[in-house]
């Protein structure tokens, strides 16, 4: 029965490919492909669930494709199915079909009609893959692509400033979740010396022994999983991305942030519950996060002026309650709660423009002014304070910017004195020295061999920060990122015989193509105006959507999204950092957290935003 599972991944994949082939003008066929695919998926999934139920609802686990194998590491695609998966896939397919039908009419004549539907079906593919995944690697593929789908749909109206700004903001918060998952994978490689599946994770007694031996590492894995879940489900302290994601068409907001995407944190917690619940204090942590979000989210939802923001925070508050339910072990209740919340929020978002009609338009005959309440000065003060705090979203967004992103900006300013020229001149020297150490590791002139890799990891990070703070020329930023990746590979390769040249080549393979293609694309853009400044938005996707797409692909390839072998390579690369190399893992993780932001920043500045030529319609920066 387990081999049927892959069908549910292939079906949306084929639908996605088919949707790409339809010409953009043929609205009916584009929508038809997506609705048919999701509809078939729904019917097939419903039948499968009935069939599965009649056979006693066994837990299914199937190892599918081994992507990479060496002595120390095996990376494979694994699919898994149980009641949690059944509920999430079924609800997911149902909502996707309904929203796709809604969008067919809603998006009629929108210039991004095809872009929208292709992204929706791609989202659905990765959602399904994520839900059916049987190990962290498979889950991570879906997880990464979902982040990119979010980025694309938030900046759907890419010729305006705010969608572009907010898409990068949301992506940057998502990256925290991504990097937490990478760290969880990294640590579990080392803890179990294999790629652990979710089925093995649910085998509590076998785990208990391991956990007792390595409590610190086990604690680390649980913590990263919980942070990743909190990020994806807009829990505190990350909640503020959710309302800022409401930039695309109402229907995409409903699908992503009303229903499916935002509940994936709950899914991750349920999938890994047997594991983190066996570690002390973790359930308390989840309860605290959930309760805080429920309370603060509800207070914010009460006073916001935008209806979609109200819905976003009420949804986050409900998900907070789901976190509590999961932590208390009430999984069935959490599933029911998920289904109900997903359906309700989708509906509420879809009809959110109607709020005008039932709260304002029909007040004509039935308006009753609010009665003035008389309360004590203290109570009034408390309630006014709460009101203002909630209105300002408890400053979550400001605090995140201040403590999470400003340090990077600060560092960028601090190293601004190093000119781009210097970084270019220094690079071959650094690389040559590093390369020398890779080949002749015995010549490292230090007692502690781990210092050199850490130093290279820091230099790699600095190159990325340089790219992130680059303002002059996008090509500089692009080359800095490539340089950084090379240095990071070196940092792992130094004093590490297990990291074979073949493995390095895997990391390199996707990267090299992407970096060359990206470079050529940027050169072509530069040829138009001799201007690739990152100080402002150029909006080239308006006139050159093809180039924009190619550059987007090379950005994603460069940072190792799972459509090039680089993805496997990065996984292998991380597995070669040993668990005692705390500094190196810290800096490498930092690098991978901001690398995607720094390349997508280039994409955003050069290809999105309003087009620089004023002979096109231009929106205000405030819209």
């Amino acid at each position: 029965m387990a081999e049927f599972l892959q069908f549910f991944v292939w079906l949306p994949f084929l639908g996605f490919l088919a949707s790409l082939l339809v010409p953009a003008k043929n609205e009916k066929r584009i929508a038809g492909v997506v609705i048919t695919t999701a509809g078939l998926h729904l019917v097939a999934m419903a039948s499968f669930i009935v069939f599965w139920w009649m056979h006693g609802a066994p837990i299914l686990n199937q190892k599918h494709i081994t992507l990479f194998q060496s002595d120390s590491i095996e990376i494979f695609i694994d699919l898994y199915f149980d009641a949690v998966g059944a509920v999430f896939t079924f609800i997911g397919a149902a909502i996707t079909v309904l929203v796709a039908i809604f969008s067919k009419y809603y998006l009629h004549r929108d210039q991004g009609f095809k872009r929208y539907f292709s992204t929706v079906i791609f989202f659905f593919l990765n959602y399904t893959l994520l839900i059916l995944s049987g190990n962290f690697e498979t889950l991570f593929i879906g997880w990464e692509f979902l982040g990119i789908c979010s980025f694309l749909l938030i900046s759907f109206y890419r010729d305006r400033y705010l969608p572009v700004k907010n898409s990068l903001k949301v992506l940057s918060i998502f990256r925290i979740g991504d990097i937490c998952l990478i760290l969880a994978m990294w640590m579990s490689h080392h803890l179990w010396n294999q790629n652990i599946t979710f089925q093995q994770l649910s085998d509590a007694p076998a785990l208990a022994l391991h956990i007792a031996e390595h409590s610190g590492y086990a604690w680390f894995i649980a913590l990263t999983i919980i942070i990743a879940a909190a990020v994806k489900s807009a829990q505190l302290p990350f909640s503020s991305w959710l309302p800022r994601a409401m930039e695309g068409p109402t229907s995409s907001s409903a699908l992503f942030y009303g229903s499916l995407s935002v509940h994936l944190g709950v899914f991750l917690l349920m999938r890994t519950a047997p594991y983190w619940q066996s570690i002390d204090y973790m359930d308390i942590l989840v309860i605290v996060i959930g309760a805080a979000t429920a309370l603060i989210g509800a207070s914010i939802a009460k006073v916001q002026s935008s209806v979609k923001v109200q819905i976003a925070y009420s949804s986050a508050a409900q998900i907070g309650l789901m976190f509590i339910e999961v932590a208390l072990g009430w999984h069935t209740l959490a599933l029911v709660h998920f289904a109900a919340n997903a359906m309700l929020r989708t509906y509420q978002l879809l009809v959110s423009p109607s709020v005008m009609s039932y709260l304002s338009h029909n007040m004509f005959f039935s308006f009753v002014p609010l009665a003035k309440s008389t309360t004590s000065p203290l109570a009034a003060k408390v309630s006014n304070t709460l009101y203002i705090l909630a209105l300002k979203e408890w400053n979550i967004d400001t605090l995140l910017t201040k403590y999470l992103w400003n340090p990077f900006k600060w560092m960028g300013k601090k190293i601004a004195f190093v000119s781009y020229r210097t970084t270019v001149i220094v690079f071959p020297v650094l690389f040559a020295i590093g390369f020398f150490f890779v080949i002749f590791p015995d010549n490292i002139p230090l007692d502690d061999y781990d210092v050199v890799p850490s130093v290279y990891a820091v230099i790699g990070l600095l190159y990325i920060i340089k790219a992130l703070s680059e303002r002059e020329d996008a090509l500089h930023a692009w080359l800095s990122v490539i340089g950084a990746e090379l240095l990071i590979i070196l940092s792992v390769a130094i004093h590490n015989q297990d990291f074979t040249p073949l493995q390095m080549l895997i990391v390199f393979s996707g990267m090299i193509v992407s970096s060359v293609v990206g470079y050529i694309t940027l050169r072509r853009i530069k040829a138009f105006d001799n201007d690739l400044s990152l100080n402002y938005y150029h909006g080239y996707s308006y006139e050159h959507p093809g180039l924009a797409f190619v550059f987007l692909l090379s950005c994603l390839g460069l940072v190792g999204l799972p459509f090039t072998p680089t993805f496997i390579g990065i996984d292998v690369l991380f597995s070669h950092i040993h668990k005692h190399q705390e500094l190196q893992i810290f800096f490498t993780a930092m690098s991978f957290m901001i690398i995607e932001i720094s390349v997508l920043r280039i994409y955003a500045r050069i290809f999105t935003g309003m087009h620089k030529k004023s002979y096109h319609a231009m929106a205000y920066r405030s819209s």
């Binding site: 109402t250 002026s305 009609s357």
Partner: protein, 408 residues
């Protein structure tokens, strides 16, 4: 019906009872007088009748039809309803006006002022839902038996007009095949108007270009592609243009205002319009923004203006040029609309049929570019075969807009 749907007819319950007449000046609510006194009623009815030139040859039933619009999931709903009724359906106004005109004492007063309405003539208020293409009539129970009979005949004519109107409108909607049966077109139009997922419940005043002030004989059997405001006015009842001033005063703010709203929203939908409505957030029940931290958007959304040709309104008046010139110059707030060219104005000389165009403060004779108006032989196939836009880019979308035709 779901609360998400605003139905034009629910604005006023058909069976409700309105307090229309004020019998005691002390009847006040929130400092405002309740109802109209007989004198106020007389003034209003007289003004209305004189402005449209309806002073004799009264039909047995005179319909006062207000407009309103049903829509769902549409924050710009108010832009489809009646602007003169604060963005709501005009059903109350129509019903009140009919009731005033039917009032025996008002009739008596009107007779003293020289307007004799036969006792058999009755006024009926109604509401046309311009999105769903339906009409609801009010206070039909007060019709005399003879008029009741006539009313049911008229209703059938109205239904036929609604059918044809729906067919004409359907050519603009990609979701409705115009060539299907009238019954299906009507149903599709109605369903569409209250669909949650339909960002274009109706196209409202999109494509408006003309405002014709004159006798209806002027526009009889003309195909204007639903692009004209038609103001009934008879120059013969008003040789000095006294009434004309009253007729023309609202044309600037109302028709010109509507026209410019569409004009500017179309010319720069990003800055002067609201942009596409798909990502809109309803903010504080007072407006829409694009995102949680964006500014309020002015103007009309893309979905309302994409079919619109951005041209200024052309007002055509049937009267003598010198009278019209004196009329528009009679009030500075009216004249600024014309002298500043916020709207264009032309005059048809009622005796010679010569056209005069207003330029730089005076009327100049004008000979039209088109020597002949093309003729539509078969209206049904004409509407069904009219060109449909390929995309909603301005160059494609406005190809749908048709010039003036004569109906055979």
């Amino acid at each position: 019906m779901s609360p998400a749907i605003s139905n034009a007819f629910t604005h006023m319950n058909k069976t409700s009872i309105l307090t229309i007449e004020n019998k005691n000046l002390n009847d006040r609510e929130n400092g405002l007088q309740i109802g109209f006194t007989i004198e106020e009623m007389t003034t209003r009815v007289e003004g209305q009748l004189r402005s449209v030139g309806l002073l004799q040859n009264f039909a047995p039933i005179i319909y006062l039809i207000a407009h309103g619009s049903s829509s769902a999931n549409n924050p710009h709903h108010g832009a489809h309803d009646c602007g003169a009724c604060s963005g709501r359906p005009g059903s109350v106004n129509a019903r009140v006006m009919a009731s005033m005109a039917n009032h025996p004492i008002v009739r008596n007063n009107l007779q003293n002022k020289g307007i004799t309405i036969p006792e058999s003539t009755q006024f009926v208020g109604a509401l046309h839902d311009t999105a769903g293409d339906e009409i609801e009539y009010y206070d039909e129970q007060f019709l005399s038996p003879e008029n009741s009979l006539l009313h049911s005949k008229n209703c059938a004519s109205f239904e036929k007009a609604l059918d044809l109107n729906a067919k004409e409108r359907s050519r603009r909607f990609a979701s409705i095949p115009t060539s299907q049966s009238l019954k299906n077109v009507r149903k599709a139009i109605k369903d569409r108007s209250v669909s949650l997922f339909e960002p274009r419940p109706e196209l409202g005043h999109g494509t408006n270009t003309l405002c014709i002030v004159g006798r209806r004989e002027m526009t009889k059997r003309l195909f204007l592609d639903r692009r004209a405001f038609l103001n009934s006015y008879d120059y013969r009842t008003d040789p000095e243009g006294k009434i004309l001033a009253g007729v023309m005063r609202p044309l600037g703010p109302v028709c010109g205002g509507i026209n410019l709203e569409y004009y500017f929203s179309r010319v720069d939908n990003h800055k002067l319009g609201a942009g596409t409505k798909l990502p809109h957030h309803v903010m504080g029940l007072i407006g829409v923004t694009n995102s949680c931290d964006g500014d309020l958007r002015p103007g009309l959304p893309l979905q309302m203006i994409e079919v619109h040709d951005p041209v200024r309104l052309l007002i055509i008046v049937e009267h003598f040029p010198d009278v019209v010139l004196a009329t528009i110059q009679s009030a500075p707030e009216m004249y600024e609309w014309f002298i500043n060219e916020w709207v264009q104005i032309a005059v048809v000389h009622p005796e010679t049929n010569v056209l005069y165009r207003f330029r730089e403060g005076q009327f100049e004779e004008y000979s039209p570019v088109a020597a002949k108006i093309p003729i539509i032989k078969d209206f049904k196939s004409f509407i069904e075969e009219a060109q449909e836009m390929e995309t909603n880019y301005i160059a494609d979308a406005t190809k749908e807009n048709l010039p003036v035709y004569s109906l055979q």
